[in-house]
């Protein structure tokens, strides 16, 4: 074990600030932490067990004969190791996290407490149904709210995340088309869509065609209408779209799509902007997933778990996947493969083992009950208000391509137009890190050059927005003036810019005792 296993040596030249180096590589509260594999031992453990009863083994002669190579740590070492690592992360708990289309809002801790109640946390998915009535009731209550909030007649609860929900919706559409003997092969996706949309359509066996946006950042209705035909199965629309704009002609789009015999899939990633304000069911939508980890605040946890229930129109409801929950008198019933035959023979099948993300359902229901109908409406209003406040406070220093056409919804979009040569969006983003903020979504959607998509959410105070605006205004000024020091940002983060090319060219995906990157 070396003193400083990070690969950085105290003898390196002092960094840009000319700070003195320390022998450990630490800088006060910024602590370097080696890998588990450099500090643990296969003989160390942080768990005590009872003595083993003596029995003959019945392992079919397949006992392990080689060591696995899994080092352990005692409890104090493990807690310190992971606590130190946690401090190298930015998080909503630390500050504004304005990732556009990701809805990084506060995660109420009551939700965590509820999810850990033994009656929810310590229940097996295959327990007999009479022993899990409360769990089934949670699913049913959450489903009720989702239907009311979207104005749709049915919901499939089991998809595990947004993209999984997209897949569920597209498979319902495919099953409905097949049921009427209609072999359509094309799914239309706007060029501004999330990458998951075309990937989902392809995953479900469809060919993907792109439809353009108009100069106002909306779907080009005429282009869409002219492409519709007997080969088009569905159109996938994000509304509000990824430019942060509501599609005012959504109903007309849906009518045109239906007239052509196709279905409308709506990407519900941006539902936070409209929850309690307008119902997708009134817009002619056939299927829409709801990211519980966005609108309904279940924690993102560094990249999941998510949860993506899908609301469905009457035309698609018979094809929903198993299992689902039904209320039968005062009892709740889980409809699985064997009981489906009676009245749900059109189901396209099963998407997951067991019944979906129960731990997310309890959190989302807790969140919804806390807000109620009035609170959820206020959520959308405050989210939109905060985004417009940012749009109007920055449009004089950053190019806002759609600002002139009116207000935005829950997120504001800017481009890199006007930056000095050689300075781009990533430099502004990395400089924001030094100012104590997580950057916005960068270079997405693709329809805006050097896009910066800012979604503040409703859980930010005005003071927090003002500080963010101050930071962006300052950095935008430097970007326009050609301040080359931006290219060195971040300089105060746990790491400087990382070499992603090296990582992809020579992938090191697991720890190997003898190798280090770049050697």
């Amino acid at each position: 074990m070396t003193v400083n296993p990070s690969g950085w040596r105290p003898s390196s030249p002092a960094n840009a600030q000319g700070e003195a180096n320390t022998v450990t590589g630490n800088r006060a509260l910024m602590l370097e932490e080696p890998l588990l594999f450099e500090i643990g031992s296969t003989e160390q453990t942080g768990v005590d067990f009872a003595d083993l009863p003596k029995v003959a083994t019945r392992l079919g002669g397949l006992e392990r004969s080689h060591p696995i190579g899994l080092p352990g740590l005692s409890e104090p070492e493990a807690v310190r190791h992971y606590t130190r690592l946690s401090r190298q992360n930015y998080a909503i708990d630390l500050g504004l996290f304005p990732l556009g289309s990701c809805t990084m809002k506060h995660n109420p801790r009551l939700n965590e407490k509820v999810a850990r109640m033994p009656g929810f946390a310590d229940v097996h998915p295959l327990q007999p149904q009479e022993t899990v009535q409360g769990a089934l009731q949670v699913i049913n209550e959450l489903a009720f709210w989702l239907l009311e909030l979207t104005g749709m007649p049915a919901v499939a609860m089991s998809p595990k995340a947004g993209a999984h929900g997209e897949l569920c919706g597209i498979l319902c559409i495919r099953a409905a088309l097949e049921a009427r003997g209609d072999k359509r092969e094309i799914v239309l996706v706007p060029e501004s869509a999330h990458g998951t949309n075309p990937a989902t359509a392809a995953f479900a066996g469809y060919q993907v065609e792109s439809i353009p946006a108009d100069s106002r950042g909306r779907v080009d209705l005429d282009a869409l209408k002219s492409r519709l035909g007997p080969d088009v199965a569905a159109v996938m629309i994000t509304n509000p779209n990824t430019c942060g704009l509501f599609e005012p002609e959504m109903k007309a789009i849906s009518d045109a799509v239906h007239a052509a015999g196709a279905f409308v899939y709506c990407d519900g990633a941006n539902f936070n902007a409209i929850v309690g304000k307008v119902r997708p069911g009134d817009l002619g939508i056939d299927a829409m997933h709801i990211n519980l980890h966005k609108t309904f605040s279940t924690p993102h946890g560094g990249g999941g778990p998510g949860s993506g229930p899908v609301v469905l129109s009457k035309a698609l409801a018979p094809y929903a996947p198993l299992p689902f929950v039904e209320k039968d008198g005062d009892q709740f019933r889980l409809v699985e493969e064997e009981t489906a035959g009676e009245h749900h023979s059109g189901t396209f099948g099963r998407m997951v083992a067991f019944h979906g993300q129960m731990g997310m359902f309890t959190r989302a229901l807790t969140y919804i009950l806390s807000h109620g109908a009035d609170g959820l409406k206020q959520v959308a209003e405050d989210a939109v208000l905060n985004a417009n406040y940012i749009l109007r406070s920055l449009e004089d220093v950053l190019d806002a391509p759609f600002a002139k056409s009116g207000p935005c919804m829950h997120e504001a979009i800017f481009s890199d137009r006007g930056f000095a040569g050689g300075i781009s969006t990533i430099d502004l983003a990395k400089a924001l890190i030094d100012e104590g903020f997580h950057p916005m979504t960068m270079y997405f959607p693709l329809v805006v050059h050097g896009a910066m998509l800012v979604e503040p959410t409703e859980t930010e105070s005005r003071a927090s927005l003002d500080q963010f605006i101050l930071a962006v205004r300052s950095i935008a000024g430097r970007a326009k003036a050609g301040d080359e020091s931006l290219k060195a940002a971040p300089i105060y983060a746990p790491r400087r810019r990382l070499d992603e090319t090296l990582a992809a060219r020579k992938p090191v995906l697991t720890y190997r005792e003898t190798e280090t990157a770049g050697s």
Binding site: L35, A50, I68, G349, G372, G406, P507
Partner: protein, 452 residues
């Protein structure tokens, strides 16, 4: 409303800055006739933390808590003791409330942890590389079948009858849409697995063979001959592990020649939670890594030469490749992966072996005990912590009858394979370290009564 920081004064002042007369002006792109006028009618209004907690607690009490009764359920979800510090670690706000690590300079905590996770999974499974997790075991298995299809450019997959029926159901559902041909069968209540059938079914068009290890009935089969037969035909072997604790005691699938090993990581660090969220494990050979789905953390250096980690090989993924991506997966199951890694780190190899040995010893005790009940037959010759018994009566009503006696006494095969007469007397019992002597007595007594 306690989660909304803006005051009415803030709202008015901000509207003034924006230049809007009212909040409704900001929603002017929504056609007026579609805009809801007030809160949706018929729904409750906001509620205090205390009131919501009371309601949810009431619902939670309608469930029978696994830890409150003698408990023997498995079949893809296992009840193990999770050290208290695991939950503490994943509730650190910096982990809980962070996002996918797109900005690596301020996400080294998540990235390094995922690198540790990938290493632990790869080593446990006996593979060269592992990804940063999938939704769950069942979706990981389907992704593995698709990956084999990309590697071999073949579309026929032979699935062992010992694979969890929900996993098979997910695969058959998805295959209807992709055109992949799957060969499956129901298991038989015998000590032998269907290894011979699998080997016989492999031909020059086979993309992959899928085998669960230990299987749905708890049997452990040597994967080596199946791997050899698959490789000889140019096919891949996909192994599925739903109880990774077993690998503390038995050989890893990679060691026996599996090319892709997927699994459900729930049993390490993640509670039962009525089926989710769980964590899909996915490992393979290094030469196939560019066909792998999902997020990958990789090692690199920063501008000063310090070691750091980034998400890498993203040219496989949907946000870059769109319809040409290896999968549409975007979110994985990072928080559960963190729980897995924290628990595995606390165990270490020594602890994992002890845990696995304790599970096996407990299961052996229960099997011996139940074998003495007249009319009950133990199906398995080999098992880890889960085995199948054949009752003299139908198992499904027996399970309900045991509930009436306060015992959660296993999963009936009737629940998993409805309508399959040959399996209706089968009962699968899982026995982990959480089972006490009193629990075993209670199971023994309840089973004796219900088979009488």
């Amino acid at each position: 409303m306690r989660y909304l920081p803006l005051s009415d004064a803030d709202r008015s002042e901000m509207l003034r800055v924006i230049g809007a007369g009212s909040i409704d002006e900001l929603f002017r792109d929504v056609p007026a006739e579609l805009r809801l006028k007030g809160p949706i009618k018929g729904l409750p209004m906001h509620a205090s933390e205390m009131a919501v907690e009371r309601h949810m607690a009431k619902l939670s009490r309608k469930n029978l808590v696994a830890g409150d009764v003698p408990f023997f359920l498995g079949c893809g979800a296992y009840r193990h003791h999770v050290p208290a510090s695991v939950d503490h670690i994943i509730q650190r706000g910096e982990f809980l409330t962070s996002y996918t690590p797109y900005q690596p300079e301020i996400a080294q905590g998540t990235l390094q942890l995922l690198f540790e996770f990938q290493t632990q999974v790869a080593r446990l499974f006996g593979c060269e590389v592992a990804n940063a997790s999938m939704y769950d075991g069942s979706t990981a298995m389907w992704e593995a079948i698709l990956m084999a299809h990309r590697v071999t450019r073949r579309t026929k997959t032979v699935i062992s009858s010992g694979v969890h029926p929900h996993y098979v159901s997910v695969a058959t559902t998805m295959a209807k849409f992709t055109g992949d041909a799957l060969e499956t069968a129901n298991p038989q209540l015998t000590a032998e697995t269907d290894a011979d059938r699998l080997i016989a079914a492999i031909d020059g068009e086979t993309s992959a063979v899928v085998v669960q290890y230990p299987d749905i009935l708890g049997r452990i089969t040597d994967l080596t001959p199946i791997a050899d037969a698959a490789h000889a035909a140019g096919a891949l072997l996909i192994a599925v592990v739903t109880e990774p604790v077993a690998l503390g005691l038995i050989k890893s699938p990679g060691e026996m020649g599996a090319d892709i090993v997927v699994g459900e990581g729930q049993s390490i660090g993640v509670g039962l939670q009525f089926g989710g969220p769980y964590v899909g494990l996915f490992a393979c050979r290094e030469k196939h890594v560019r066909q792998m789905p999902g997020r990958l953390a990789g090692e690199t250096v920063d501008a000063e030469g310090k070691r750091g980690f980034v998400l890498t090989l993203s040219t496989r993924e949907q946000h870059i490749r769109r319809e040409k991506a290896t999968s549409n997966i975007c979110t994985s199951s990072v928080l559960c992966a963190m729980a897995f890694t924290a628990h595995m780190t606390l165990l270490g190899e020594k602890g994992l072996r002890q845990l696995a040995s304790l599970n096996h010893a407990r299961a052996c005790e229960v099997a011996e005990r139940l074998a003495r009940i007249p009319g009950i037959e133990i199906v398995n010759d080999s098992f880890f912590n889960e085995f199948t018994v054949k009752l003299p009566v139908e198992a499904r009503p027996a399970v309900h009858a045991m509930v009436e006696r306060g015992v959660l006494g296993g999963v009936s095969l009737g629940r998993l394979y409805p309508g399959v007469d040959a399996l209706e007397n089968g009962l699968v019992l899982a026995v982990t370290e959480t089972v006490s002597d009193e629990d075993i007595d209670a199971l023994d007594a309840a089973l004796k009564e219900v088979v009488r």
